[in-house]
């Protein structure tokens, strides 16, 4: 029972980060109909930027903000310079392009920062919280992770539901031409979409890295797990992404805890295939069925 509780709590924390990451993928998908396979590498780069700042004695939360800002800038530049030419072209092109970007960012980070594992600090404790005599399987940092992800989601809801900017971004994503006719600067909105997504990705990177070792490959599992979480929720639906992330986090935590860590990717593949073949528009699709 104790193990089940610990595994569940661990899965929730993991799921929260998957959710944030899936949310980032979802933002990009909505704005440009592209699955960004370089998202994990971008988040890794911003996390390294934060690490260098922390090692230069910059306070943790300043570095955290710097990572978000760096993500924002990186996302904007990448959309403008690299992605814009393939927007609206054959979807294979964008897939190959983002995979190439993944390799380049990966390699350049390794060359710049080295490939060794480095410790990454956490702003709060990473020891389990005790209630009376028994400790429960969640740490202050785990709680912080969930809170931060919840804040990010709340922020995005406010942005998209209640602000004019959010309305412009949604319109640009759904129907670029009509939006242009209504005066929306669609190009800017798409850039902003990528920038926001990369900033959310940067948050996910910081949350994964905290209290753990980082190396240039530390975000690699997110290339597939983030994608699966997003597809699970239906790529188009931010709420779906969040729920997809939590489901995936819990599933993988149970698999790792009770069966074996090495089977986690296989289970993830199984989940993905079942969703794609049985419910192609995702578990929480609102609109018409999508073509997979």
């Amino acid at each position: 029972m104790q193990q089940f509780l610990d595994t569940t709590l661990g899965g929730l924390v993991l799921g929260a980060v998957y959710a944030a990451f899936a949310l980032a993928l979802c933002l990009i998908w909505r704005s440009t109909r592209i699955v960004n396979f370089a998202q994990a590498a971008m988040a890794m780069v911003t996390t390294y930027i934060a690490l260098s700042l922390i090692n230069a004695d910059v306070p943790y939360w300043v570095a955290f903000m710097a990572a978000i800002a760096a993500g924002f800038g990186l996302g904007a530049v990448i959309e403008r310079v690299i992605i814009r030419p393939v927007e609206g072209k054959a979807e294979l092109n964008a897939v190959i392009l983002t995979l190439g970007l993944f390799m380049v960012l990966h390699g350049l980070t390794a060359i710049t920062f080295g490939v060794q594992h480095r410790g990454f600090p956490a702003p709060v404790g990473t020891s389990a919280i005790s209630v009376g005599d028994t400790s429960i399987g969640i740490t202050p940092f785990g709680i912080l992770t969930i809170v931060v992800v919840a804040l990010v989601m709340a922020g995005l809801v406010v942005l998209f539901r209640f602000t004019d900017l959010g309305l412009r971004m949604r319109a640009a994503a759904f129907n670029g031409e009509v939006s242009r006719l209504l005066g929306v600067r669609v190009g800017r909105m798409l850039t902003l979409g990528w920038a926001l997504a990369a900033a959310v990705g940067a948050v996910a990177g910081m949350l994964i890295a905290g209290g753990d070792l980082v190396n240039p490959a530390f975000m690699d599992p997110f290339v597939i797990y983030g994608f699966i979480a997003a597809v699970l929720g239906g790529l188009d639906s931010p709420l779906g992404s969040v729920i997809g992330g939590l489901i995936l986090g819990l599933s993988l935590s149970y698999v790792t805890g009770y069966v074996g860590e090495h089977l986690a990717p296989l289970v993830a593949l199984g989940i993905l295939m079942v969703v794609l073949l049985v419910r192609p528009s995702g578990l929480f699709a609102a609109a018409a069925a999508r073509r997979v």
Partner: protein
């Protein structure tokens, strides 16, 4: 001269015969080049051969039927483990053992190809990319599940010693290259022989009715379906063929590396294969060969280059993936047809090229 033409013309007009001639010429040249190379270079050529086989299968799939697979690293793993387990049982001391192992690797991969291809046929674009990428990560981890695969440290692969090879092969090689065959050159010859055979088979297939169907499916699946082509079936066949090539490549890789372990089949391997076919030009076998050559020889050059500009050894090792990544990006942004495709367009535009096109 006229008589010569009359002999050549029928050969040239039958695709199979034409491909056989090209392959034969290429193989003889390859033998000569391999025979006169150092042992180190022979290992590179052997590597180039198995990469080319895998890339050939992948380029056929992606270029002709429009399906992008990032899971070919996993299929190579399946082929490698199949061949390794067979060699472990048979002892791997004779040429026959080697061929049995490779045939089993191909057969197993054919089955896996169908199993993966059926669901994959229903996916497209980013979905099939994500699913096959997951496959590439998941399959090698199965080695940790069952004892028989040897876990993380993998299985050793035994290959025949050169002296155990049939005498006629030893003589033949000596006759052609004036150098005694050894283990390294043996693996290089074997690789190039199988490469030639594979490419003839693949080239023929893409020229055949099956190939035309694949192209139809790639270009416009709705019309293809209206024209009576069974979409799913065409895609599954394409996937299976390309899985078989990956299986053969995996088997050869196992023999060359002499170890089969999950650590060999990383995401990077799959992405690297993709880089090879994109660089050469999707759908082009010549392109796949060029791409494979780059895969086999680039790492050393890129690493040396990195070290010469003052990077440490570990940093320099990262130059290679950066180059692969840049290749993927630049080809997509600047020359989506790849090297071979761009050359063709260029030749077709020049007056020389256009007359050539007419005569063929």
């Amino acid at each position: 001269m006229e008589r010569l033409r009359s002999i050549i013309r029928p050969v040239a007009s039958v695709p199979l015969a034409r491909h056989l001639v090209v392959a034969l010429v290429a193989f003889v040249v390859a033998m000569a080049v391999i025979g006169s190379s150092s042992q180190y270079l022979q290992t590179r050529y052997a590597e180039m051969a198995y990469f080319a086989i895998a890339a050939g299968g992948l380029t056929l799939l992606t270029g002709l039927s429009g399906q992008l697979s990032l899971g070919h690293g996993a299929l190579m793993a399946v082929g490698a483990y199949a061949a390794t387990l067979v060699l472990e049982r048979t002892g791997g001391e004779t040429l026959a053992d080697v061929f049995v192992a490779l045939l089993v690797a191909i057969a197993v991969c054919a089955v896996v190809g169908v199993v993966v291809g059926v669901p994959a046929a229903r996916l497209h674009g980013p979905y099939i990319a994500g699913a096959t990428l997951t496959l590439a990560v998941a399959v090698p981890r199965l080695a940790n599940q069952w004892e028989v695969f040897g876990g993380e440290q993998g299985l050793q692969v035994s290959v025949p010693r050169a002296t155990d090879l049939p005498a006629w092969i030893q003589d033949l090689v000596w006759f052609f290259t004036a150098v005694e065959i050894d283990q390294y050159s043996f693996l290089a010859y074997l690789g190039w022989l199988l490469l030639a055979i594979t490419f003839v088979a693949l080239a023929n297939l893409s020229r055949s009715r099956v190939g035309r169907r694949w192209r139809a499916v790639r270009d416009d699946d709705v019309s293809a379906e209206l024209a009576g082509i069974h979409l799913g079936r065409a895609r599954v066949v394409a996937f299976t063929v390309s899985a078989m090539a990956a299986g053969l490549a995996g088997g050869l890789m196992a023999m060359n590396v002499r170890l089969t372990a999950p650590g060999a089949f990383t995401i990077t391997l799959s992405l690297t294969l993709l880089a090879a076919v994109v660089l050469g030009g999707l759908g082009s076998l010549t392109g796949a060969l060029i791409g494979a050559g780059v895969l086999a020889f680039l790492p050393k050059f890129a690493t040396d280059l990195g070290e010469s500009v003052g990077l440490s050894a570990t940093q320099a090792a990262e130059v290679t993936p950066v180059v692969y990544g840049l290749v993927l990006m630049l080809v997509i942004l600047l020359a989506p047809a790849g090297i071979v495709g761009s050359l063709r367009t260029f030749l077709a535009r020049s007056p020389l090229g256009s007359t050539k096109e007419k005569t063929t």
